[in-house]
């Protein structure tokens, strides 16, 4: 049998060619920073800065490059030596490694990308050296910053998370981060950073947007070091090692997916068939059992008026249908329940689903941004004050609500703890076939989503959006789907019984 083992071994070794691809990825900079950068290093760092960084962070490192006004959070002003993501104690400068890591990995949820693919390790260290010249604090520091020591980790458990939840109230995290952690606390709207720019507390349920990553250690460090330049203080005085881990565990217990990664994008939104009445209330337990689909939303930067800093960054959608109607449940996080107010420049909050009026037979379809002159779209829009409206669009500036008699959709929506939940319903088929899409099972229907946060000045073309995805109403399964497998089981069982009987007979012989 030696040959068989050999073959097995060979087979098991073949794929190793495919596994060796991760070689190039060095883990967060193995190399050490140069102790004292040479003038050549600083010159090289300056050239890199001017090529890649200056247009956001400014030629003088003042965070006022041409892109600065169009980004939120704004690019960092380096002159104060205040850096968000540190492993060092409260009030201290970041370590060189901290700066290096942010340059390497970027900052999730912001306009800062990782530079690993573009800059070599040596170049990133040169950049670190150059960045430090923008603030005098680095040159003045007599000793290197003291790192935070991470004590023994308490594993994530229900008890620990419950204790963390208690601490969350006790040290008043909820005041900014909100009762359920969606960044909707009572103080949230007034928060500003050290430069006076409005700043948002993290939505603790979206760990993929955490600026310094979402490992347990990263969360621990943010609690202990604070986020410099932002209203997030250090809790080193009130939280010992154990309490810090409880709080970390509480935050992690809020995540829908324990990995903390963003929900996977699914190209096809599926509507499942259900029997009987579909619950109209978005809070009903029924909806917990329906498959969720998540779509990231981005700013509408295609037509004027553009929105560069959208508030809503994603929407979760569930869809079911019965004999008569289609029901869609939309859930999205929005830190404020906005009211229309002309003086304040605020509007109602809203979300909409877009379909083409005619499901295209070929590839051709309306322009995803509210249709075009040739092909119209239909919008099912729910507003926090105006309720449900059906509209038709032949372009962003040609959007018209349908007549009163053609409004056949209904919706129930509610706002709670920084989250909207809305169930929209529409009959599958309508009378107004010229303006309404007629929903048929088994077809791939283009679908897109929009959201408006009125407190962020979003109305009309200023909105967060997706481009076209697919919507698919699952047809009832044909009967053969059940008949053939049953038949197969019966035949296979019969054959097997026959084999067993034969074998027993031969034994008797």
């Amino acid at each position: 049998m030696r040959w068989a083992c050999l073959i097995l071994l060979m087979i098991l070794l073949t794929p190793s060619t495919g596994w060796g691809q991760e070689k190039g990825a060095s883990p967060g900079g193995a190399g050490a920073p140069p102790a004292a950068p040479s003038p050549q290093d600083l010159q090289a760092g300056k050239r890199i800065y001017q090529k890649w960084c200056m247009n956001c962070h400014g030629a003088q490192g003042d965070g006022a490059g041409p892109a600065a006004d169009f980004l939120r959070p704004r690019p960092r002003d380096f002159r104060q030596g205040l850096f968000k993501i540190r492993t060092t104690q409260s009030g201290q400068l970041p370590s060189d490694q901290d700066l290096f890591n942010v340059i390497t990995k970027g900052m999730p949820g912001t306009g800062m990308p990782g530079w690993e693919k573009v800059l070599t390790e040596a170049e990133r260290w040169q950049l670190v050296s150059y960045l430090k010249t923008f603030s005098r604090r680095f040159a003045r520091a007599s000793a290197p910053p003291e790192p935070i020591r991470i004590g023994t980790q308490l594993p994530l458990s229900a008890d620990s998370a419950a204790e963390g939840k208690r601490l969350f109230r006790e040290i008043e995290c909820f005041k900014c981060h909100g009762d359920e952690g969606r960044g909707d606390g009572p103080s949230a709207p007034e928060l500003t950073d050290d430069w006076g720019a409005p700043i948002r507390p993290a939505n603790l349920r979206k760990p993929w947007t955490f600026r310094g990553g979402h490992t347990p250690e990263a969360l621990y460090l943010r609690l202990q070091s604070g986020i410099a330049g932002s209203p997030m203080p250090s809790f080193a005085d009130s939280l010992d090692n154990e309490k810090t881990w409880h709080l970390v565990n509480y935050v992690m217990s809020l995540w829908q997916d324990s990995s903390g990664n963003n929900p996977p994008l699914q190209v096809v939104l599926k509507a499942r068939r259900v029997e009987g009445e579909i619950p109209a209330q978005p809070g009903e337990a029924f909806w917990q059992d329906q498959e969720p689909f998540y779509y990231p939303l981005v700013g509408q930067v295609i037509r004027e008026p553009r929105l560069f800093v959208p508030s809503v960054d994603g929407v979760q959608v569930q869809a079911v249908y019965n004999d008569r109607e289609l029901a869609l449940r939309l859930v999205w996080d929005d830190p404020t329940n906005s009211k229309a107010d002309a003086e304040q420049g605020t509007f109602e909050d809203a979300a909409a689903i877009e379909f083409p009026v005619q499901v295209p037979p070929g590839a051709k379809r309306p322009f995803f941004l509210m249709g075009d002159a040739e092909l119209a779209v239909q919008l099912l829009r729910w507003g926090s004050s105006s309720g449900m409206t059906e509209l038709n669009g032949n372009g962003l500036d040609k959007l018209q609500p349908q007549s009163e008699s053609s409004q056949e959709s209904t919706a129930v929506g509610e706002f709670q703890n920084g989250q909207y939940q809305v169930v929209m319903k529409r009959p599958l088929r309508t009378v107004n076939t010229a303006q309404d899409i007629q929903f048929e099972t088994g077809r791939f229907i283009p679908v897109a989503f929009f959201a408006w946060d009125g407190s962020n000045g979003e109305t009309g073309g200023k909105m967060a959006l997706t481009s076209w995805f697919y919507f698919f109403i699952e047809p009832a399964l044909p009967k053969v789907t059940y008949v053939y497998p049953a038949l197969a089981v019966v035949i296979a069982g019969g054959l097997q019984w026959w084999v067993v009987r034969r074998l027993r007979q031969t034994k008797m012989d």
Binding site: M1, A4, L8, I11, L12, T14, P15, T17, G18, W52, N55, C56, P66, A67, F70, T110, G111, P113, K117, V118, P296, V298, G299, V301, I302, R303, E304, A363, K364, R365, P366, F367, F368, L369, D372, L375, G442, F444, S467, W468, F469, F472, E474, P475, L477, P478, V480, T481, Y484, P485, A486, A488, V489, V490, A492, Q496, V499, V500, L503, R504
Partner: protein, 244 residues
């Protein structure tokens, strides 16, 4: 062949099959399933030939199978229970296989898309007027940078690789200018045309209804558009294609 005892032949048989299957599945890039099927058929045939070549090996190989189907009264309760489970599972697994086969699977229609459609006649061969003024290069590059970082960066990104912070919201994804397949193989006039008319200016074969590229001639003047084209080539290090 019965010189060596130890692992039963049937177990080896299964081990070889599993080993080959896992090995074939681990090959990257993944092999097409028809090829996997062919390899597995070959393996099964080969191993069957091996076990059936002598009467003794065939006996050794088939005995446990025969025993399983026939039943063996002298075996213990655990074995008897296990036998019942296995015999029950075989038809059910087959049924499940059939169920998987007959359940209709729905895949969205494939989207064909021409990435670089032919430009209209009037934009062919235009030259970048800013190239005529090398003395003002720095000024033009600064203008191009400002235009890029106030308009394009959200999708095309700080690294010019099409991975801006809004890029994940759009399909088709924003163009990657670093890639050798975009501006590197295009003329400046072509890039200027794409910037100027955007998604809505695409012909039908390039699915204009899906493109999030704005029609920039409504938001940027001609100099700004030429400046951003100049800046793109400068930053990425590519040279625009020319007709020699």
């Amino acid at each position: 062949m019965n010189t060596r005892r130890g692992i039963p032949l049937l177990v080896k048989f299964v081990a070889v099959l599993v080993g080959v299957y896992v090995g074939v599945r681990l090959v990257r890039p993944p092999l097409p399933s028809s090829l996997v099927m062919m390899y597995m058929t070959l393996t099964v045939c080969g191993v069957l030939v091996y076990v059936s070549i002598y009467a003794e090996t065939w006996q050794e190989f088939s005995a446990p199978l025969v025993e399983l189907f026939r039943g063996s009264p002298e075996r213990g309760g655990l074995w008897q229970g296990g036998r019942q489970v296995v015999l029950g599972l075989i038809p059910l697994l087959l049924g499940f296989g059939v169920y998987q086969k007959v359940t209709p699977s729905f895949t969205p229609p494939a989207e064909q898309r021409v990435v670089h459609p032919a430009p209209p006649f009037e934009v062919m061969g235009l030259t970048n007027p800013l190239q005529q003024r090398p003395d003002r290069l720095q000024e033009h590059l600064e203008l191009g940078a400002r235009v890029y970082f106030q308009n394009c960066v959200y999708c095309h990104g700080d690294r010019f690789d099409g991975e801006g912070h809004f890029a994940h919201g759009f399909n088709p994804p924003p163009a990657n200018f670093v890639d050798a397949g975009t501006i590197a193989q295009l003329q400046e006039s072509y890039v200027f045309w794409r910037v100027s008319t955007g998604g809505p200016g695409l012909p039908a074969e390039s699915t204009p209804w899906n493109s999030a590229m704005p029609k920039w001639d409504t938001m940027l003047n001609e100099e700004e558009r030429w400046a951003v084209v100049l800046y793109l080539y400068h930053q990425t290090g590519w040279k625009p294609r020319t007709w020699e």
